[in-house]
Symmetry: C2
Subunit: 374 residues, 2 copies
């Protein structure tokens, strides 16, 4: 296969693995920071690498609008353009396009839409999405699909999933195989087990390098999401990476890893970094809160990121009050580092046969923390 996935160890449904790509290895379970427009917002790429991140997610929708896939290709591909030499996964553009309510028209052939930036008309089909992701030089290309909205009736979910499966076939056919590059299919089916199973069967019949679980984290809540994750990953191939798209909060990730998921992406650590919110071992903190004004402590005792090593909560609070860019830079760095420490902790716990103890400690810490609602 074009992408090699090794499973090193299993504990229950949980797996420790390595995904080998042309641009390097990804140790799983893995979290991918999001680099929407060819940059992880407010981070130098070398700083992203320093957090331990081994793979980034790029957004096809944003990059096809600005600067355009042709320009990125001309500049040597997305890795070179954005100075990130490690692996990159790109989404298909579908998720963003489908959410352009009123600006897009969906047909079997593909989606016609208008750019949110300047109103320019674009067309996205499975074939177009493959072409764009190829030009971007993405290590992991995602099939174009429709992320079924929640809630959906059984009939809506079925119809949407079945179109996505036809698009998966067209995506696979249009994808150009290369060593160290691969394509992932995306399971849909909303919260209906038989639709999830049907989707998995169809994807397996096509054959992919990895399998994503789509259509979750779209408003159904953690309980419902975990209900689906109790069965959905199990219908996907056991020897391929499983990727839960757009998830999530730290406890979402831990719960999904326990249910057999290997890969994650989410804007939460980066977006929260731009709104004064920090993830810590003891829950979330909003550094704008007045109680941090004179607090000489680090944001999170024991964290090795530059924010926690070199600054007080009082300083970050001050930067935030003054709307200083450095607050965003440091909080984003901390949050990405927090997520990477969490993934590293999970990987080590699997390796050391201490996954249960790790998770108990994780939940206890989060619960006893001085948790503020994000």
């Amino acid at each position: 296969m074009a992408l090699k996935f090794e499973i090193l160890k299993r504990i229950g449904k949980t797996r420790l693995g390595i995904l080998h790509t042309k641009h390097g290895d990804v140790h799983t379970p893995a979290f991918m920071p999001v680099g929407t427009c060819g940059t992880v917002k407010a981070m130098m790429p070398e700083s992203v690498a320093a957090t331990g991140a081994e793979i980034l997610l790029g957004n096809t929708y944003h990059l096809m609008l600005r600067p355009g896939a042709d320009l990125v290709e001309k500049m040597g591909g997305l890795h070179k353009f954005m100075n990130w030499e490690k692996p990159i996964l790109t989404d298909s553009g579908g998720f963003q396009v489908m959410s352009l309510t009123g600006l897009r028209k969906l047909k079997e052939e593909g989606v016609t839409f208008r750019s949110h930036v300047d109103g320019k008309k674009f067309f996205l089909s499975p074939e177009e999405s493959m072409k764009i992701q190829h030009k971007l030089d993405s290590n992991i290309t995602m099939c174009l699909d429709e992320c079924t909205p929640f809630p959906a009736s059984y009939e809506q979910a079925q119809k949407s999933m079945q179109m996505s499966m036809r698009w998966a076939r067209r995506s696979r056919d249009a994808f150009i195989d290369r060593d160290g590059y691969g394509i992932f299919g995306i399971q849909q089916g909303s919260v209906f087990k038989d639709l999830r199973d049907e989707s998995a069967e169809k994807l397996k019949a096509i054959g992919f390098d990895g399998y994503a679980i789509g259509g979750l984290a779209v408003g159904e809540g953690q309980e419902k999401m975990f209900e689906v994750l109790d069965y959905a990953p199990m219908s996907l191939p056991d020897d391929k990476p499983r990727y839960l798209m757009g998830v999530g909060r730290p406890d979402d990730i831990v719960g999904a890893v326990l249910r057999g998921v290997d890969m994650f992406d989410c804007v939460m650590p980066t977006r929260s970094g731009r709104t004064a919110q920090a993830f810590t071992r003891f829950g979330a903190i909003n550094i704008k809160n007045a109680r941090h004004r004179e607090d000489p402590r680090p944001l999170e005792e024991g964290c090795d990121c530059p924010l926690c090593k070199n600054y007080t909560r009082a300083y970050i609070h001050h930067l935030q009050k003054c709307n200083e860019i450095l607050a965003v830079m440091l909080l984003t760095w901390h949050n990405i580092r927090y997520y990477q420490r969490l993934m590293q902790g999970l990987r080590e716990a699997i390796a050391n046969d201490s996954l249960e103890a790790f998770c108990q400690q994780f939940y206890a810490d989060q619960a006893k923390g001085d948790i503020e609602e994000i």
Copy 2:
């Protein structure tokens, strides 16, 4: 003296020197990036140090409002608070306060003003400014003065200068001497030679660790400024550092170094970094300009900053178009590095007896450059 200044070499009026402080040495001619609110905007302090900057300027006005001098003192001083272990110079707060037209009331005793942030009332006098700068743990404290507006009549300039000299006396008296810390007087007198001379005499009679030239770069234009700099620095002590406040563009700095100035500060490199403008050997560039859209070249050939080493103009143009914070981070870094390279070039040229050739090359490069108006 509390601050030791060594002059290593002279060429004409130009000097090569080292200013020794408690927090390290400053090689002159030196440019100080501005860290208004306890951060050089969009820069990690380790990155500021990596540009070659050996000293920062902090703003007393901004820091007294937020987070307040008492808090900074409680946190161990400004160096520790902002994680900058090298020297810091603080201004007196006077310049910002005086520009709060309508919000401030100036008397012999001091200035009463309202914060631009929340309208809270403050009082700033020479004694208060000294107290605040002491609490900030500033290595170089500036006297409180009135920056005489331009244009001013002879009488206005005289009256303003004479009050500034009485305030200089009070500042010196209130300043607490410590090893490795010092206080600079500020010459005023607008564009009138005899007032500049009178101001210099009064400052010398008081005795300072260094002498600033104030009241320039306030709208008089480069020609007029250079006219004043033809004589103003010469009336200040020959064995102490001379600091031209708030200057300037690269060619302002070169012209002032040739006229005997040792130290500079300006928001230009940092502010320009936030508005897509870059300084280069061949003049200023606005990276927003459409002609950079597909340009695979570095911003400035030969520059060793991360922007020029790792990215194309096309990428920075793209980031700028998307309002990405990384554009600000990289452009600010480049601009500060450009200023530091300029200062380093000047210092090496003095050391190597090639100052004239250096300046000829500098003017020729700037003139032949693809200059865009900033």
